[in-house]
Point group: C2
Chain length 494, copies 2
């Protein structure tokens, strides 16, 4: 239905974005925030029609889509508030000390936008991680124009959201080129966008193969640019022994729900569960199997994802020493992902890298360790993860400190006695983690700290107060928090 | 004198660093800070002997070396204070809202260290950007062990500083492997260090060729790691018309000093001066030439740097349309860098990329623009820079806003009516800038914000208060600033 953008069209889009950058970056924080709020309103104004189109393209149920749009609106408003509040600017002022030897000049620093940001829509979140999603909101807050490469699996939904953004842009008198929507099912469109001189950063959520490719293109440019790719993970769950003594069955029930939530199509889906071999783990596995078979398979996002799920799952299940514990009935002709639990022992897991890979869908592998030493080996062998979850009593946490330490070292979020699915949108959230879960463990794609991916500091030395940006003026006209001579304050400088 | 480290030695060093990481990262901020302060004391305790050795190796005068050691001691103490104060941790707490649908969990976030950091010593700063310099101090503050690759041009100085660090480490009961010193004149040693699995970040100050190579190695790893390389720049200076009407001669005097400071061997040396053709610029050039011939040539850091200076300078001067304005007498047999001023017109500069390149040494090129439109073209054509300087009246700043905007877009520090040389060590300093001045414009190598290069966030979800790190406990036992439910506060949580 949609045509891939031509090289000429991409060139025009980038030229417009570059021009818009020079205007948009100078607009006051409040205007940026109002623009973001206007987008949120337009998204809501799209009404049920948007949910209908998204439902047809993604097979996601209406309630989920309604919830996801609500989340997207919430995100836009929350990041707009953060943008305006200005703490992300990291404003720092050191006043002059003329009689120091040599004299210390007046220096003031704040974050400024990088430039046009290319955002790649994610297949599994048509709203929250796509066209008007978190990356777009963060880039707008930072002061960057945005070019969205629509995900071909929901191009029509993306187009409709793009129109809502463009309407908000027009209503708010934003410069032409502040936002552009580009279609492209081929790899060439993505490459042309990432490698364009005027592109200064990239945001991506999706597969390892896709994210790593963008990262490499970004770094191989004459002028390398930051590519933040969130590429998912297996989100290991450690079942510690004391906790298992009393709660094995309840944990199994909770995890049956988490593994199959949204047909397992979340990057925080728990794909590996590690426990100590014995009767508690057996009871856990039995209960998990029972629960899984009760959960009806759901239609996956699109045929490609379903095909991939079946392929990767079958590949994992065919490995030596891997047993299928339970699965739910499936109707493959409808692209339904069958909830599946497998199990293996610690040695098999440690020696076979295939079992460490993500199987995107409602699948989880239980790893039976023969002792805590082996469990520690497993923890130390795991790659970088978005999340690690510990099911543990206080006693477990103290006795098995080495497991806790190993977990801290490989993840971006460490959950205690809960499930990794469900990513709260708030400042304290970290949705990121060591490679290969993302391309830079120092940044997040959820929460207002995500703005910092698209901004860089600039220091003004020896400037005249009147010529400084409002954020750094003596009078602190925006009333923001600033670090003045090493002290955090909202005070006016005398 | 020093042998290159063998592959086996590097392997052992990295194993030790990895072990040390597990211990060091858990030490309280205060212990890290005390360790850093102990290093500062040991550096001072090295006395004049250290300055003598450094002088022999670098040809830098004693006063400069004494000053640079003082700066290094100051840095260690300042970053130790920042470490302890904990604002760099970006502690964020969002408390639970159990009756929200779905329930909002308690989430708390802070920065944790990346892991062992490899630091490359810089030839032009044997103390402040080398063994116990800014990168090392930032890494220790972040909680990372450090492996220093000594700069071969001052390996003995580096060795002596390394001993001071190791003595401080022993006195403070730091884990074995917290610091290691590796010699290597060959490219293989650097490559082995950057590509080692246990290396989690790299800090570098030096040439473009060196920094870009490390950056590429870092990104081509199976697990890419952040490589922060500060690679210098030409630090353009714009002479705006109204300012020049009254101050041309005074500016020339000031710049003669800045261009030749430390035999021009600073990454903030002003290498390009852009003005409007006419009698004011002629007066400026004449005065600058006069002043330059008065300044005695100085011995450069080592024969390699001198050779490079002569080669690059001769190459620039041999370009069509480039004239030598003035130079000071030189004695090349003593590796003395001759202060030199060249000039060219705007069109020549715009069309010849050779003239945009850094000539590391006491050299500067004056670019004569035929009008302000051409000056803007020059500003827009320049690559990323550590600094840009504007010599301007308030009126110039308003009339020539487009030049100011272009300048903001290409640099990390924007100086008004002063010189770029002299990098103040304070929180508001930004010593960084768009590529190719650094490999990541979002980070600084000077000031306590440089700690953030070596740390990443981790979020704790649904944790028990007693098990949380002190930084995130309800009681706020460290008394640090935290953002609690979106408000910055030092308050205790009830």
């Amino acid at each position: 239905m949609f045509q891939d953008a031509t090289a000429q069209e991409i060139e025009e889009v980038m030229q417009q974005a570059w021009k818009a950058f020079y205007v948009y970056r100078k607009l006051p924080l409040q205007q940026r925030a109002n623009f973001m709020r206007a987008i949120a309103k337009e998204l809501e104004a799209c009404g049920d029609e948007l949910l209908k189109i998204a439902g047809e393209e993604t097979n996601l149920p209406e309630a989920r889509l309604r919830g996801e749009r609500g989340r997207t609106v919430f995100q836009l408003n929350q990041y707009a508030d953060a943008c305006e509040k200005g703490e992300w600017l990291e404003a720092r002022i050191d006043t002059a000390i003329p009689d120091k030897a040599p004299p210390k000049p007046d220096i003031r620093k704040m974050l400024v936008p990088l430039g046009p940001v290319v955002v790649f829509g994610a297949s599994n979140f048509p709203f929250a991680y796509s066209t008007a999603g978190g990356d777009t909101a963060c880039a707008f807050a930072a002061g960057c124009p945005v070019i969205v490469k629509a995900h071909p699996a929901h191009a029509q939904t993306s187009e409709m959201v793009a129109k809502a953004i463009l309407k908000a842009a027009a209503d708010c008198n934003m410069p032409e080129g502040i936002f552009a929507h580009v279609n492209g099912a081929s790899i060439e469109v993505g490459k042309a966008l990432v490698t364009h001189t005027y592109t200064k950063a990239v945001g991506f959520t999706g597969s390892y193969a896709g994210g790593k490719q963008l990262f490499d293109w970004g770094n191989q440019r004459k002028e390398p640019i930051p590519v933040f790719a969130e590429m998912g993970s297996v989100n290991p769950v450690f079942l510690l022994p004391e906790k298992m003594k009393t709660d094995a069955k309840a944990i199994a029930k909770m995890y049956a729900g988490s593994i199959t939530l949204g047909v397992g199509q979340f990057c925080t889906n728990p794909g590996i569960i590690i426990g100590l071999d014995g009767k508690e783990l057996n009871a856990f596995i039995e209960e998990l199997g029972k629960e899984i078979t009760k959960i009806a398979p759901g239609t996956m996002l699109h045929p490609g994802i379903f095909k991939n799920y079946r392929k990767k799952k079958d590949h994992a299940l065919s490995q030596k020493g891997v047993d299928t514990v339970a699965f739910s009935e499936t109707k493959p002709e409808l692209n339904q992902g069958s909830p599946t639990i497998a199990s293996t022992n610690g040695q098999t897991f440690l020696s076979n890298p295939v079992l460490h890979q993500e199987v995107f869908g409602p699948y989880s592998l239980v790893v039976r360790c023969k002792d805590m030493k082996e469990m520690l080996q497993v923890a130390n062998k795991l790659e970088g993860q978005l999340t690690v979850t510990l099911m543990a009593t206080d006693g477990d946490m103290q006795i098995h400190e080495k497991i806790v330490d190993a977990a801290k070292n490989i993840c971006g979020r460490l959950i205690l006695n809960s499930v990794p699915t469900g990513v709260e949108v708030c400042l304290s959230m970290h949705h990121g983690g060591p490679f290969p879960s993302t391309t830079d463990s120092r940044f997040t794609s959820v929460g207002a700290d995500g703005i910092k991916r698209f901004a860089r500091p600039i220091a003004f030395q020896n400037w005249v107060n009147e010529l400084l940006p409002d954020e750094l003026k003596n009078e602190n006209p925006l009333g923001i928090w600033r670090t003045v001579n090493s002290e955090l304050t909202k005070d006016v400088l005398k």
